[in-house]
């Protein structure tokens, strides 16, 4: 498994862990009624805001962990045209799913959904887009073309 493939696997695992936790947390808040009322967008944002820095820290920590685990083995981390192609392919999928979520947000707000539900839809599309993009990237490495 190349460095780039491993990076995709790590990204998929981190994405599943973080977004799984966020989903559970948001559901708990929804059940407790914290996501309704005037302060709902603020509560929602506070429960989501930590995800991006957490993803960055987890990625760095996991990469350091892999580097320590593979100590002594020759690691090639350079990127070539195939990596760029597969990265672009994954990015296309990510942006497409995110764009669908953004359109969903607009439609939701236009038809009277609450701001929190609409923002959750946007967040879910970003998370799903990231996951699918990484899966497409990994599948491209595994299957080829």
């Amino acid at each position: 498994m190349s460095h780039q493939e491993r990076a995709s696997v790590v990204a998929i695992v981190i994405c599943l862990l973080l977004n799984g936790y966020v989903s559970v947390r948001l559901w708990q808040l929804y059940e407790s009624g914290a996501l309704s009322g005037e302060n709902a967008p603020m509560v929602w944002a506070q429960s989501i805001a930590w995800v991006v820095p957490a993803a960055i820290v987890l990625t760095i920590v996991s990469n350091i962990g892999f580097a320590i685990a593979s100590k002594g083995r020759k690691q090639k981390t350079n990127i070539d045209e195939r990596d760029h192609l597969y990265r672009s392919r994954g990015m296309c999928v990510t942006l497409f799913v995110f764009a669908l979520g953004f359109i969903g947000l607009l439609i939701g707000l236009a038809t009277g959904w609450s701001v929190v539900i609409s923002l959750t839809l946007l967040y879910a599309s970003a998370a799903l887009g990231d996951l699918l993009g990484q899966c497409v990237r990994l599948a491209s490495y595994r299957i080829g073309y």
């Binding site: 190349s2 090639k76 070539d80 195939r82 299957i143 073309y145």
Partner: protein, 87 residues
């Protein structure tokens, strides 16, 4: 239009060049070993630039390294074949 299949002789050329490793070829042409492996297995078609670099690494013309087949028939790439198809 018939489907065009690209095959290559990289594996044979590597062995004919003092059993050159995939990593050595990758270093010579500026890509990763995994990309060379994918090209050899016909799982990835390289860019024209990389294809030329690979041919140059073996000191062979491009048509000697990469070959085109259509419906099981080998297609020769030459000035004459271009003229024939243009007619």
């Amino acid at each position: 239009m018939a489907e065009l299949r690209i095959t290559n002789t990289i594996r044979r050329l590597r062995f004919e060049n003092d059993e050159m490793t995939q990593q050595a070829l990758a270093d010579a042409v500026g890509c990763t070993r995994q990309t060379i492996a994918a090209i050899e297995k016909a799982k990835y078609s390289p860019s024209l630039e990389l294809a030329v670099r690979i041919a140059m690494a073996f000191g062979q013309p491009l048509s000697e390294v990469f070959r085109f087949e259509s419906d099981g028939t080998k297609i020769e790439i030459s000035r004459d074949s271009h003229r024939d198809s243009a007619r």
